[in-house]
Amino acid sequence: MISEWIVSILLLIGGAFILIGSIGLIKMPDFFMRLHGPTKATTLGMAGMLIAAMVFFSNTQDGVSVKELLISIFLLITAPISGYMLIKSAIHHKLKAKDGTKGLDNIEDD
């Protein structure tokens, strides 16, 4: 019974974070700000959902199930790298940042 509550709460938190990440993808005015939602909120949302899956399968099937941790760790390691590649290609394509962005002269041309 308690485990059902834990699974429900973790699932709702995870789903909410995934939704917030996607809302950030829609709402923000320029590419560099859009990048923040998916790289952070979605990653934490996934971690929440996978921990929920871990608790759920440990309860319904016999034995402890920890292999869902693998996907969480994999996503935590790869999210910054894909974010880095994306922002690098955006700078390379000279995408316009929102008006009023400070420190634009810090970007060096390559």
């Binding site: 809302i23 005015p29 909120a41 920890v66 693998l70 910054p80 940042a97 400070k102 420190g103 970007i107």
Partner: protein, 178 residues
Amino acid sequence: MRLESRFRWLPTPFRSALLFVVWLLLNNSVSAGHIVLAVIFAILIPLVSFPFREPQPLIIKPGLALKQLIIVMYDIITANMQVALLILGPVKKLRPAFVKVPIELSHAMPITILASTVSLTPGTVSAEVYPIPESLAEGEQPTQRYLLIHVLDLDDEQALIDTIKQRYEAPLKEIFQC
């Protein structure tokens, strides 16, 4: 910075431990057969693949690395709350900015770890390391490196730079001793 391991038959101790754990996680069991197989893989795969790779700096202080991992995990959770609030709040109030952070780390691997931590923590995404290696002459060492980061909501530039340097860079310098 130490590139060579103390044992010749175990060139990369940390990666071997990781292989061992991942094999057990993939099979989702701790039976004797799987443990033996995991030990064999953890010793054989680094031995075979080590000559293909450039030597990477080894972790010299594992205890500090574990402590830093917990700090970063805690920061990821709090940072995500902040970013979620920023995203749900009004867009017009955000003050995005590009900031150049001077870094003292010298090897590519600690710099990668620092950039990844910065990407996962409060409102920042790392974008570039200056100077770009291709712009340097052959064998030339840059005097000072910079990390370019994009901040979602910049309040105080100097405070942000100090936080990154003290909270994330100083422990990395000590862990890898470089």
